[in-house]
Structures are given as structure tokens and as C-alpha cells.
């Protein structure tokens, strides 16, 4: 008999990511389906609008990743119209991007993913003195590691738990046999969870400085809206830049003395997860952090490329403008294409929803029919994984020395081979390793900005093609970035100064995509195959792998319900 485990919502609120996993007799996942249960279709909202306004709509696609969608959007318009942004704008965009990446990855680790590995309730049993000893061993340079500090944390936690609800920590699988950390490691992780929570509200001020406001910082087609005057009072001046510098120093400290040591410490208890959750073995990155303009791909700090079949000896070239490379299929997606077409490059993309699934609420989806609102992006016909692991592997395989160094250090510390990276734990580790690089690059980009300003260049935008009268009657462009969860690209078609077509392929569409015409699984589905489950009623193992991708299908509604608890129920059907 096949047991079907349904996890819905994997993301908290109605209508997002749903996973159905079919267990075989030995209690392993034999087949899996990933479904996005809510139609988004922002493309339809953008049609007919002014391309210069698109970024402000795109910024609202995602709850947290405001900057990456705005960035991809302005880049698509600039690409279409042949606009080259000034040096300062390139650097400021890099600073905004890296700030987002560092903040997002740290938050992902402590506030989402750690709870898959750390048992909060067990932390209450920890001895503060032993915890202090452990913390000093794990990270000798951590600022706070005294027994008194951990005693206070334990008191705070106890008070919070005793208040009658676990609040942020509710609805996990406390006491699940797959949790392995000793109580002291759990308490240390809780302490750092709190540190990260307090820190993340500071780092984001960098967006306020350069984006003019936060949330929802300002972007601009042609550059950035940030006015800089080192000696002035009303623009970005030296005082504000010094504050940014302090925030970057603080971020580096959090990453180097908390995030990386904690990741390595937690990983050392879960080495078996280097054998689970690998999945496709195909990786794609568009790359980002240009040093000499967006068209100079070779200058990117995050290199572009594709890897197939875990072959780290070859990084294949990628071109978002090539109609034969990125295509979206719809074999198992609730859409229809005109004229019975089966796969379209995003410039020719169509967004025509056609729901043929069961009437909600339903108990199961049919893996042989259409089963998701996500389209099915493929690269040269291959299902691809995008995100931190893809970027780190492509950086490593491209021979970039900074990638090689951080990867070698982590593999050495955990005493595991490079092949261990193709796994759930590898994906989680890759996220921390690229954060280590990102926070260093953030510092470098800041230094670049100061050097450029001191050299007398304070230009932040090129507005020579601002007026639609300067545009051609028709133009096509694409704008890409490496969002925290992976390769993101917006494709735009401008006609008579308005948006004729706009297509977005977000990272989670790559990763959460369904099977394609050839029956190839998407990245989540593939990564779940073979996963052992200790207790199907509490599918912690599924969550570990799915969370290692940092799913983002929500990007959305957060309606307050009278009973929020009910919304976060995991439905298990056996």
C-alpha cells in the first residue's frame, strides 16, 4: 500500500505551496508532487502600463524580496532601451542587493530553517554553564558567551513558553526523533535566534539610506534615485555613509561569529543529510554583482552558467535572450497556450490561466494531470535547480578563488567530500558560504563607492532616455538578478511606449515546478525522492529539504484570521 503524505500549506497561508509525497513500503519517499495552489499572474496587471513604473508594481510581488524584483524590472527596461547606468548606480544597486542577500539568508537560517534542526523545547533543559562552554568552543570570538547570558536567554524563553503559547515557535514537531542536538546546542541556537532578530532590524537601514525609504525602497530606470552630496545635509552625506559602514561591520560580525560557526556546529550533528535531498544535479545561475557594467558578464562576482548532471568540470554558457534556452512548458500546469503550443520563451510568453484541477478543498491531486499554478521553466529542456547551491557550485566550478576558499574551508571543517554538497545539508551550507562572500563584497562595494565619490563622481542616474519620445516604436529586453533564492529574470516587450508583454520567471518557479512533458521532476520533487521518514504523521524530513531551498511562493496575502492556528495546520492524509 502506498502512503500519501500531504503537506499543505508548506507555506503558512492558504493557497500556496503544497507537497504530496508518496511513501513506499520501506517508508521512503517514492514519488512527490509540488503544487502552487494560487494563481498570481502579475503579468496581466502590468500589460499596458508605463515601463518606467513597472518596478514599483514588481516590488510588491514578494513580501520581503522587494529590491530584487525592482532591480530585475529596471534592468529589463534599460536592456530594452539600451541605457547604461552610471558607476555609482551600479555600486549602489550592488550594495542594496548584497544587503538583501545577507539579511535574508541570516533570517532564513535562524528564523525558518533552524527550527527544522533545533528543538526549542529541549533548550529549556540546557545547563547555562555547559552552554557557555559550548558557545566558546564553537565560536571563540563571539561577543556574548557567558553563563549569565545563557541563563538570561533561558529565562526569557521560559517566560515566553509559559505565557501559554509558543508563538513564533509553535506548530513545529518538538520532540520528533529526528532532532539530534543536545539541549545546550539548542539553547545556544535560541540565543543566536534572538541576536539575529535584533540585528536584522538594523541592517535593513542600509536600504533606507540608498532607497530613500523602507519598506519599498525607490528604484529608477537609468540609475538610482539616491542624491549624494558628501558635505550636504539634505542628501546622502558622509554621516549617513559612516552609518552604513558601521552596519556593514556589524553584519560581518554576525555572519563570521554566529551564522557560520552555528551552521557548522549544527551540520556536524546531521552528517547523514549530506546523503539526502540532492535532487536534480542540474544548476543554473544568471549571475550578478557586475563590476564593469551589466553587459560585461565576465566581471560578475556571482558568475553565470549552467551545470548538468553534477559535472563540475564543465560550466555551460547561458543566454536569457536565446529563444532556445529558457522556455516555459505547461504540460502539468493550469495554463493554456494559443495554437496548442507546448513551450514558449518568455518574450513570447502567454499568461492564460485554465484551471482543470479538483474543486477545493480537495484531498489529493492527480500526478498524471495538470496539478499546479506554476509554469514549468526548463533550460534547453532540462529541469534546473537555482539558488545558493547553484551559485556556489557554479562559482566553484568556474574556478573563482573566493568560492574555492570558502567551500574548501567548510568541507575541511565538516570532514566531508565535495560530493556532499549535492544534498539538503549542502544546500543549507551553500547559503551560509555565499553569505560569507556577500558580506565581504558588501564591504568592498562600499569602499568602491567612497573611492568613486572622492574622485569627484556623484552622478547616480542617466536620464537621457527618460522621455518616451526618445524610445524606438518597439523594443525587447530582459533584466536578471540572483535573488536570495535563485535566478530571477523579467522579460519585457515595449510597444508604442507601453508594456505589450511582461513575463517573470521567479526562482521558486524553477525549483517548485512540476514534471515536464518528458516526465522530468522539478527540483523540489526530485530532491524529495528517497527521503526516509521516521514518522509520516510529522513530516519533518520533507520540511527540511523543502526549507533548504527557502521556498517563496507566498509573496503574498497575510490576512489576519480569527484563528491563525488553523491556517497553519499540516494536513496529513494516510
Amino acid at each position: 500500500m502506498t502512503t500519501r503524505v500531504v503537506v499543505d500549506p508548506v507555506t503558512r497561508i492558504e493557497g500556496h505551496l503544497r507537497i504530496e509525497a508518496m511513501l513506499n513500503d520501506s517508508g521512503h519517499v517514492g514519488d512527490a508532487m509540488s503544487s502552487g495552489t494560487m494563481w498570481r499572474g502579475l503579468e496581466v496587471i502590468l500589460q499596458g502600463r508605463d515601463p518606467r513604473d513597472a518596478w514599483a508594481f514588481c516590488e510588491r510581488i514578494c513580501g520581503v524580496c522587494t529590491t530584487v524584483h525592482a532591480l530585475a524590472s529596471v534592468r529589463s527596461v534599460e536592456n530594452a532601451l539600451g541605457i547604461k547606468v552610471p558607476k555609482n548606480a551600479e555600486i549602489i544597486r550592488n550594495i542594496m542587493f548584497l544587503t538583501q542577500m545577507v539579511q535574508d539568508h541570516v533570517i532564513h537560517f535562524y528564523h525558518l530553517h533552524a527550527l527544522d534542526w533545533v528543538d526549542i523545547v529541549s533548550a529549556l533543559k540546557a545547563d547555562p554553564v555547559a552552554t557557555a562552554a559550548l558557545a566558546q568552543k564553537v565560536s571563540p570570538s563571539a561577543e556574548k558567551a557567558s553563563p549569565g547570558y545563557f541563563r538570561d536567554i533561558a529565562t526569557t524563553l521560559k517566560k515566553y513558553v509559559d505565557s501559554g503559547q509558543l508563538g513564533l515557535f509553535d506548530n513545529a514537531y518538538w520532540g520528533h526523533p529526528a532532532y539530534k542536538l543536545p539541549p545546550e546546542a539548542n539553547l545556544m541556537a535560541v540565543a543566536h535566534y534572538l541576536e539575529a532578530l535584533k540585528w536584522q532590524k538594523e541592517i535593513i537601514k542600509i536600504h533606507t539610506v540608498f532607497g530613500g525609504k523602507n519598506p519599498h525602497p525607490n528604484y529608477l530606470v537609468g540609475g538610482m534615485a539616491s542624491a549624494i552630496n558628501l558635505q550636504g545635509d539634505s542628501a546622502i552625506n558622509i554621516e549617513r555613509l559612516n552609518m552604513v559602514k558601521d552596519l556593514i561591520t556589524q553584519a560581518k560580525q554576525i555572519v563570521d561569529t554566529l551564522y557560520i560557526p552555528d551552521l557548522l556546529a549544527v551540520a556536524s550533528f546531521y552528517r547523514e543529510w549530506t546523503q539526502i535531498g540532492g535532487g536534480l544535479g542540474n544548476y543554473l545561475a544568471y549571475g550578478d554583482i557586475p563590476q564593469h557594467g551589466i553587459s560585461d558578464v565576465a566581471s560578475f562576482k556571482f558568475p553565470r552558467g549552467a551545470i548538468l548532471n553534477k559535472n563540475l568540470a564543465e560550466v555551460l554558457p547561458v543566454d536569457p535572450a536565446d529563444a532556445g534556452q529558457v522556455q516555459e512548458e505547461i504540460t502539468h500546469s493550469w495554463y493554456e497556450y494559443s495554437g496548442g503550443k507546448t513551450a514558449l520563451h518568455p518574450w513570447d510568453g502567454e499568461t492564460s490561466p485554465k484551471y482543470t484541477g479538483p474543486k477545493p478543498p480537495y484531498t489529493q491531486l492527480d500526478e498524471n494531470a495538470k496539478y499546479t499554478w506554476l509554469k514549468t521553466p526548463r533550460w534547453k529542456g532540462n529541469a534546473m535547480e537555482v539558488g545558493p547551491l547553484a551559485r556556489v557550485l557554479i562559482g566553484f566550478a568556474s574556478g573563482h578563488s573566493d568560492f574555492k576558499e570558502v567551500v574548501a574551508a567548510a568541507l575541511g571543517a565538516l570532514k566531508i567530500p565535495a560530493a556532499a554538497l549535492f544534498s539538503t545539508l549542502g544546500r543549507t551550507a551553500a547559503r551560509s558560504l555565499e553569505t560569507q562572500l556577500a558580506v565581504q563584497w558588501l564591504k568592498d562595494e562600499f569602499d568602491n563607492l567612497i573611492a568613486n565619490l572622492k574622485a569627484g563622481d556623484s552622478t547616480t542616474a542617466d536620464t537621457s532616455k527618460w522621455e518616451p519620445s526618445t524610445w524606438p516604436a518597439e523594443a525587447k529586453g530582459y533584466g536578471f538578478t540572483e535573488a536570495p533564492r535563485g535566478a530571477l529574470c523579467h522579460w519585457i516587450h515595449i510597444k508604442d511606449t507601453k508594456i505589450a508583454n511582461y513575463q517573470i520567471v521567479v526562482p521558486s518557479t524553477w525549483n517548485a515546478s512540476p514534471k515536464d512533458a518528458k516526465g522530468q521532476h522539478g527540483a523540489y520533487e526530485s530532491a524529495l525522492l528517497g527521503t526516509p521518514m521516521a514518522d509520516p504523521k510529522r513530516p519533518l524530513e520533507i520540511l527540511r529539504t523543502i526549507h533548504s531551498f527557502d521556498p517563496c511562493l507566498a509573496c503574498a496575502s497575510h490576512v489576519i484570521g480569527k484563528d491563525g492556528r488553523k491556517l497553519s495546520e499540516f494536513l496529513i492524509r494516510v
Binding site: R60, D104, D170, I204, P215, A556, H558, K562, D563, R565
Partner: protein
């Protein structure tokens, strides 16, 4: 033009009116829409009140709660009442809206934000939610008719609260 650059360096206004919701999901955008109405009369509160469009930012808004005496969240509130019903809730009533375990790092929601504020001991002393029952939470720009009709009443609720608090 430079308004806003220094906002976060100043002493925060004692009362924050925080609009939450996604403007690209029809009635989920009622929070920001309400905020637009309210901020037109913002000057009458003379620096006592800050109006902020929080979108769906969730935890990233934590820093903006620090140092506030009172917080009024304006948002879509789904209870099963007829669309356009205006709800007014206090912190105690909100406790039922437990945030639960997040499935994604990208699920900004009020419950989670408040639970985090409580954990770091930065929950404002007084907390209210003024919400409107949505009709449609689905891709689309703009509010449904019943929700649009509820804006004046919801706006009045917020202004009454502000009068009491200021």
C-alpha cells in the same frame, strides 16, 4: 524631495499606524488603501502619528515598532463576516490569531511580527487592529466594491482611536 532620508534616525512618533497587505491581491491591499485616506489628514496629529505602508514585510518591520507607545494595524481581517464589515480588535483579541510556524521566510504577517516584538520585548503598550473583511483575495489591482465602500467607516474608526490616544 529628501523627506524620509532621516526618518529612522529621528525619535519615532509615539503612535504608528501601520498599513499591511499586498496591493497586487485585490482586497488584500485594503490596509495600504486605508492608509492613503488617513494620511491626507495626517497633519492634524502634529508629529504624534506616523503612517507607514508596511506592505507584506513582516519581520523586516520589527525595527519600526521600537519606541512606540501605541500601534494601530490596518489590514484585511478575514472572519467570515459579510465583505466590507469593519473590525476593530485589541491585542487580547489578536492572541487568537497565533502566527504559527512559518513555512517560508517570506510570509510577512501581522501575527508573526507581533510575536517577534513580544519576544524581544518591544511590543508597544497599546495595540489595535482596524480591519476590513475582504471579498476577494486574488490577483488584481484595486479593491472590490464592498471593501471600497467600507473605507470611510474604517477610516473613522482609526481617527477615533487616534483622538483617544493623542
Amino acid at each position: 524631495m529628501m523627506n524620509g532620508y532621516l526618518d529612522f534616525l529621528r525619535e519615532p512618533a509615539p503612535i504608528l499606524v501601520l498599513g499591511l497587505g499586498n496591493t497586487l491581491l485585490s482586497d488584500d491591499g485594503v490596509g495600504p488603501a486605508l492608509l492613503d485616506q488617513l494620511s491626507s489628514s495626517a497633519q492634524r496629529w502634529e508629529g504624534q502619528v506616523e503612517f507607514m505602508d508596511g506592505g507584506t514585510q513582516g519581520l523586516a518591520l520589527l525595527g519600526r515598532l521600537s519606541g512606540r507607545k501605541a500601534l494601530i494595524i490596518v489590514d484585511a481581517v478575514k472572519t467570515g463576516a459579510p465583505p466590507g464589515t469593519v473590525h476593530r480588535m485589541t491585542l487580547g483579541e489578536l492572541r487568537g490569531a497565533n502566527p504559527g510556524r512559518r513555512g517560508s521566510a517570506h510570509e510577512g504577517n501581522a501575527g508573526e511580527l507581533l510575536a517577534a516584538a513580544q519576544l524581544v520585548d518591544e511590543l508597544p503598550d497599546r495595540l489595535f487592529v482596524v480591519g476590513v473583511e475582504p471579498k476577494k483575495i486574488a490577483t488584481g489591482y484595486g479593491l472590490s466594491a464592498p471593501v471600497k465602500r467600507a473605507l470611510p467607516e474604517a477610516s473613522k474608526e482609526v481617527n477615533q482611536l487616534l483622538t483617544q490616544l493623542c
